[in-house]
């Protein structure tokens, strides 16, 4: 028998990355801004999307991933927006091929498409879904040192949304410390302090979305 060594230097997620590229190009052509939302379970991804839906209405649509149930999609649909649920049946993250399949169900051309990833701060960070920007959410009850404990999500995101700011008086969360930890991993991270209860920071977040959309599609 003969042996042969092949030097490959190929990413393990090459097939996912190729599909992600397909998603990105397809949605770019259709002038849809895609945002991938990452956070722990319960950090407020769905609540933030509900709050954005109040302003954006049918201009936005959501692909939402959960291990089980259509509950989040139903929650979002109550706000009059289109929501496509991906039930992963156990998988702890979304992959580009799941998004590609969900896109077949998407009707019309929303301006903003949000992908609400499975609530998990570890695994989803490793998978490109074809998004143009990635937001990581950190809720104040989770603790200000979360960026150091789960660095990958913060390393790979463009925006950090601190949620549940209204709870700051009640929980041991030093906002400046959290921001410093997050920026120590990713100096280019844009940070928004928000609360869907008081409305804090939502206007700034909407302005950021609009700005990102215009810089991506200047002729739209």
């Amino acid at each position: 028998m003969a042996q042969k060594r092949v030097v490959l230097e190929e990413g393990i997620l090459k097939s996912n990355d190729l599909l992600a590229q397909k998603v990105r190009e397809d949605l770019r052509r259709r002038r849809i801004l895609v945002t991938n939302l990452l956070s722990s379970p319960g950090a407020g991804k769905t609540a933030l999307l509900e709050a954005l839906a109040q302003n954006l209405g049918p201009q936005m649509a959501v692909i939402v991933g959960d291990v089980q149930t259509r509950r989040d999609a139903e929650r979002l649909e109550r706000h009059g927006i289109q929501a496509v649920q991906i039930v992963t049946g156990g998988t702890c993250h979304l992959e580009a091929r799941m998004v590609l399949r969900a896109l077949e169900e998407l009707q019309g051309t929303p301006r903003y498409l949000f992908i609400e990833n499975v609530g998990n701060l570890v695994c989803p960070a490793g998978f490109d879904l074809g998004e143009q920007q990635r937001w990581v959410l950190l809720s104040t009850p989770e603790g200000d040192d979360k960026p150091l404990k789960y660095p990958e999500a913060f390393l790979t995101s463009h925006v950090l949304v601190i949620t549940k700011m209204d709870l700051v008086p009640h929980v041991p969360f030093d906002v400046d410390q959290a921001e410093a930890y997050a920026r120590s991993l990713n100096p280019r991270l844009r940070i928004f302090r928000t609360s869907v209860m008081t409305g804090e920071g939502l206007e700034a977040l909407l302005a950021h979305l609009e700005h990102t959309y215009r810089s991506l599609f200047p002729d739209a």
Partner: protein, 114 residues
């Protein structure tokens, strides 16, 4: 927890390679795993032992090449290997920096029986 998905992708990739090369068996896979790659080396190994069964990589060995992180200090420009988090520049004490290396999950080389 997503290591099984990663190993599944790895096995598909090396089986494609084996087909292209007309190989009968896969003997060894060398994988580079960055410190901030999201993958846990031990879990990659155990997922590999289970998922390789019944494939041309059944008897293959998985060698992990653990890649340390490398950070550039944006204040003084020093490139260093951080020991822990947060990244703190050992020369000027500045917090944070740009991660230059340490996110890879890359198949470096594959040994085939042809």
């Amino acid at each position: 927890m997503h290591e099984a998905s990663l190993i599944q992708a790895l096995l598909e990739q090396v089986q494609d390679l084996a087909r292209r090369e007309g190989a009968r068996r896969i003997l060894r896979i060398q994988l580079r795993v960055g410190r901030f790659s999201t993958a846990v080396p031990e879990l990659l190994e155990s997922a590999f032992e289970i998922l390789k069964q019944g494939t041309p990589a059944e008897e293959a060995r998985l060698d992990l090449h653990l890649e340390p992180a490398r950070v550039r200090c944006e204040a003084c420009g020093l490139e260093y290997e951080p020991e822990d988090l947060p990244f703190i520049c050992p020369r000027c004490g500045t917090w944070g920096g740009t991660l230059l290396q340490g996110r890879d999950l890359v198949i470096e080389a594959v040994d085939l029986e042809v």
